[in-house]
């Protein structure tokens, strides 16, 4: 909406625009229900519907939907077991929710004319910030002040401390930024690229078959990326959680 120039047309970035559908502004704070909010709601409804309806029969021998639901459960459970260990079990609901939220957001974005909320830096950054604050809090709760020792890995000579500690601090605070940027950039770049190539299809006439083929291939690639980025986001959360629980 507030984007200069292109906002009115169908430029590659038009798909990222926020539209306020129901205006809600209590005390001057803008909490409007936007297209972004709508797709978050759809994602949540789909995720809950998929898991609840798929398992409503409690089948001993699972059907298709139940199999996929169980598969997603075991996928995340194994990820936590491999990367965090047994004491990661209690964070399972949160990590599972995180994966589902990002995954459904990415996948919904592949539907034509839809909105990809994971392509908005504020959304990915908020998720990364929750992970960062949560993991840091868990680290301090678990190890107390000794968690600061995380910034000075064992076995490094003391005279290296002035060099190592700033680097470690920087790398620690870069984590949420890289986590947020990776997802945002992948989603934004992928969708922009699809739109750019798609806009060539009609412009080139008969030769439009070339960008069309390319867009088809890229769409397949985007589906892989949609899954992969959800996976990366989740597994990095697991890695950070493991660092907080077990230090280096």
């Amino acid at each position: 909406m507030a984007v200069e120039g292109e906002s009115a047309g169908h430029g590659p970035l038009a798909q990222f625009e926020i539209h306020r559908w129901i205006s809600i502004e209590p005390f001057g704070v803008d909490l409007s229900f936007t297209n972004s909010a709508l797709f978050m709601t759809i994602a949540v409804v789909l995720a809950i519907g998929f898991l609840m309806l798929g398992t409503r029969r409690h089948a001993l021998v699972p059907g298709r939907w139940q199999s996929v639901a169980e598969l997603s459960y075991e996928f995340i459970a194994n990820m936590i077991r491999d990367n965090v260990g047994q004491d990661g079990r209690k964070y399972f609901p949160f990590i599972f929710t995180l994966f589902m939220f990002v995954f459904f957001g990415n996948m919904l974005g592949m539907v034509p004319y839809s909105f990809t909320y994971t392509s908005h830096i504020i959304v990915t950054f908020a998720l990364a910030a929750v992970v960062f604050v949560g993991v840091t809090t868990i680290g301090f709760m678990r190890h107390g002040i000794r968690f600061l020792g995380f910034l000075m890995p064992a076995g490094i000579p003391v005279f290296m401390a002035p060099l190592i500690i700033p680097i470690e601090i920087l790398s620690y605070f870069t984590r949420p930024v890289s986590l947020a940027l990776r997802l945002f950039a992948n989603m934004t770049a992928g969708h922009t690229m699809l739109k750019v190539f798609a806009s060539f299809v009609f412009g080139l006439g008969v030769f439009g078959i070339v960008p069309l083929a390319l867009v088809t291939a890229l769409t397949g690639l985007e589906f892989i990326i949609a899954f992969l980025q959800a996976y990366v986001f989740t597994i990095l959360t697991c890695v950070y959680l493991n660092d907080a629980l077990h230090m280096h």
Binding site: A2, S32, A37, T55, H58, Y73, E74, I122, L127
Partner: protein, 163 residues
């Protein structure tokens, strides 16, 4: 880029918090416990079935062992019975054989005696006839009534010489 428009931040953050919390609550309270129950129940069922299969197999092994033991016992018994019967038959057969042989010997002896008696009798008859014939012949030929003792002696001597 629309993503860097700060006026779009607060509504997104608010609805992100709302939707994410709803999803988290639904997963935490309903979906994940249900999934874990289903999978646990399945695992328990599989374990129980495996246990049952193992116990049934053990039972089958025991029954088979019992059956084999019973079979072996019966086989031994049968062999004993057969042996007993064989022995009894052999004994009976020997006894009958002996009895038959004794009877046969007895009969043979009786028959021989009878034959010998008949032979003696026949010989005696022949001698009597020969004596009579000799006396008749001498009476006819030479007209002499030969004394009976003399003729009998002559017949005896001739018979002894011939035999």
């Amino acid at each position: 880029m629309p993503q860097f428009d700060p006026t779009a931040f607060t509504p997104q953050l608010f609805w992100l918090a709302v939707t994410f919390s709803v999803l988290f609550f639904a997963m935490w309270r309903f979906a994940l416990p249900r999934l874990s129950n289903i999978m646990e129940a399945r695992q328990q069922r599989i374990d129980a079935d495996l246990d049952k299969a193992a116990s049934v197999k053990e039972e089958a092994g025991r029954v088979l062992a019992e059956y084999e033991q019973a079979q072996a016992e019966v086989r031994d018994q049968a062999a004993a019975v057969i042996k007993q019967a064989g022995d009894r038959m052999a004994a009976e057969s020997t006894a009958r054989h002996e009895a038959f042989r004794a009877e046969l010997a007895e009969r043979t002896r009786a028959a021989e005696q009878r034959i010998a008696a008949a032979k003696d009798e026949a010989l005696a008859n022949i001698k009597t006839v020969a004596v009579e014939a000799a006396r008749a012949a001498t009476a006819k030929l030479i007209g002499v009534e030969a004394p009976i003792e003399q003729v009998r002696d002559a017949v005896e001597a001739t018979a002894r010489k011939r035999s």
